[in-house]
Structure formats: structure tokens, C-alpha cells
């Protein structure tokens, strides 16, 4: 059984119809839980008295075996950036972190001739590229149905190969 910390945005940068990113993250959590894993998002945990958000993030990170970083196109990513920076600091301090899996929209980044390249013009992706230099799993999707299928396969057994 894996302990999966699901990171990513909560809102779209501009109003749009359909599911909000936080709802997608909750669905990802539900899929892992339905397959016997412990999965959670930061918003579902209470902040301890006097605890900073960074301290809370690191506390939750400590109990995770895997991080799934949901990265759609066109979302507000500032909070995710802060979390990625915290992850990088942990790595730079020589601490081990959970296996990181990044299901990202294909308009954000791509693999071309074996090289992972950012294609998003806003520069938001720079934080992800920094993390990718430490070694992460990257899964590109274009439709919600593809994302759901990938998460299903991860939840049904693919994660076990990393634990």
C-alpha cells in the first residue's frame, strides 16, 4: 500500500466551465483510496496550532511514499511552486523524498527525442523543470479521460513497482 500525497493547483487562472483543478485532485485521491492506498491532499488535513504552511507540507510529505503532482494547463500554480521549492530544499539538504510522479498536460511540456522540454510560454514550468533534474516520472495527457486512465493504472498496481 502506498501513501500518496496529491499536489497541484486548486483553481483555473481564468474562469472556465468544467471541473476545478481541486476537484480533479480529489478524484485522483478517490481513485487511489478505492484501490487500497492511503491518499490525501493538503487541504484535507488540519494545520496544527502554530504550524506554518511549509511545516505542515513537510509533515505530510514525511508520511508519503509517493507524490503525484497534477499539472494541468492554465491553472493558478503559485501554491504548487511554493511546494516544489520546499521539495527541492529537502533534496538539496540531502534528505530523501517520496517518488515523484507528474501527470502533466501535453501543452505544458513534452519529451522530444528523449529530452524533457518545457513548451509553456508563461515560465511557470521552470519550477517543474528544476524538480525534474532530480529524477521524476513524467506522464503526458491531453484529455481528462487519459489522465483518469493513467491514475487508474497507477492505483491498480504500477505504483507497487516503486515501493
Amino acid at each position: 500500500m502506498a501513501n500518496v500525497f496529491v499536489l497541484g493547483p486548486s483553481h483555473w487562472a481564468t474562469p472556465r466551465t468544467g471541473q476545478k483543478p481541486i476537484s480533479v485532485r480529489r478524484q485522483i485521491v478517490d481513485t487511489f483510496r478505492a484501490n487500497g492506498h492511503d491518499a490525501f491532499i493538503m487541504e484535507d488535513h488540519e494545520t496544527h496550532p502554530g504550524e506554518s504552511l511549509t511545516a505542515k507540507f513537510l509533515r505530510l510529505l514525511e508520511k508519503a511514499t509517493h507524490v503525484v503532482l497534477y499539472w494541468p494547463a492554465g491553472a493558478v500554480m503559485e501554491t504548487s511552486h511554493a511546494e516544489l521549492v520546499a521539495l527541492r530544499f529537502e533534496l538539496e539538504k540531502g534528505k530523501s523524498i517520496p517518488d515523484v510522479i507528474v501527470p502533466h498536460h501535453e501543452n505544458v511540456a513534452e519529451i522530444r527525442n528523449g529530452e524533457f522540454l518545457s513548451i509553456e510560454e508563461s515560465g511557470q514550468i521552470a519550477y517543474l523543470m528544476d524538480l525534474a533534474r532530480y529524477g521524476v516520472t513524467i506522464l503526458s495527457w491531453s484529455r481528462g479521460s487519459e489522465l483518469r486512465e493513467m491514475v487508474n493504472v497507477l492505483a491498480e498496481g504500477e505504483l507497487a513497482s516503486d515501493t
Partner: protein
């Protein structure tokens, strides 16, 4: 899944090449004989199907390279293909000797 794979021999070649362990793009290209554009398309489709799983290779450099590993789904598909090959292989192959040789070549088996 196996029927879909048989329709995409390039994907079978990629699965076979990864059976011994993770490979980078250039090594996969050499192992399969595919052109870069063909291999890019093939790997993208196989990643979406979770047959192969791309991982970035840790680096301190500017460029970030990827290695591909066989996903559990890919490994299961490969075992199924090998089982089919085992069933039909031989002088009296029910799929015909030419089809048998074709499957053998795709799987890279002896």
C-alpha cells in the same frame, strides 16, 4: 490489449527492447531501427497507454534527458505475446511459418 499491440508492431519492438531494462531514446532507436519521428510517436502513444513509463535522469546540467522503463502493463502484454508465440511456434505453426517468423522477429526471441 494484445490485439491492439499486434496491430502496432513498432510498439512490440519497443516492449521487447525494454525487457532487459530501461533505455534512453538513442538506445531504443538503435534497438528498434525506427526513425526518430516514428519512435517519438510510438513512445507518446505507449506512455498514454502506460505500457512504458518515462523517468527523467537526475542531472546537474541544463538539458534533462529521459529513460524509458517497461510499465507493469507493458510487461504483462509482452508475456502474453510470448505465450502466444510459444503456442504457435514450430514446424506446424497454426498461424503459418511466415507469420510465425514475423512474430518471432518482433519479439526478438530465439
Amino acid at each position: 490489449m494484445i490485439v491492439t499491440l499486434i496491430q502496432h508492431p513498432h510498439q512490440i519492438a519497443v516492449l521487447s527492447a525494454l525487457d532487459d531494462g530501461p533505455l534512453r531514446f538513442a538506445a531504443l532507436k538503435a534497438a528498434t531501427g525506427l526513425e526518430s519521428s516514428q519512435l517519438n510517436r510510438c513512445l507518446k502513444a505507449m506512455t498514454k497507454a502506460m505500457l512504458v513509463i518515462p523517468h527523467t535522469i537526475p542531472t546537474e546540467g541544463v538539458r534533462i534527458f529521459v529513460e524509458y522503463r517497461l510499465g507493469k502493463r507493458g510487461a504483462a502484454a509482452l508475456r502474453q505475446l510470448e505465450a502466444v508465440h510459444g503456442l504457435v511456434h514450430g514446424d506446424h505453426s497454426p498461424i503459418g511459418r511466415s507469420s510465425d517468423r514475423e512474430l518471432e522477429a518482433l519479439l526478438g526471441s530465439t
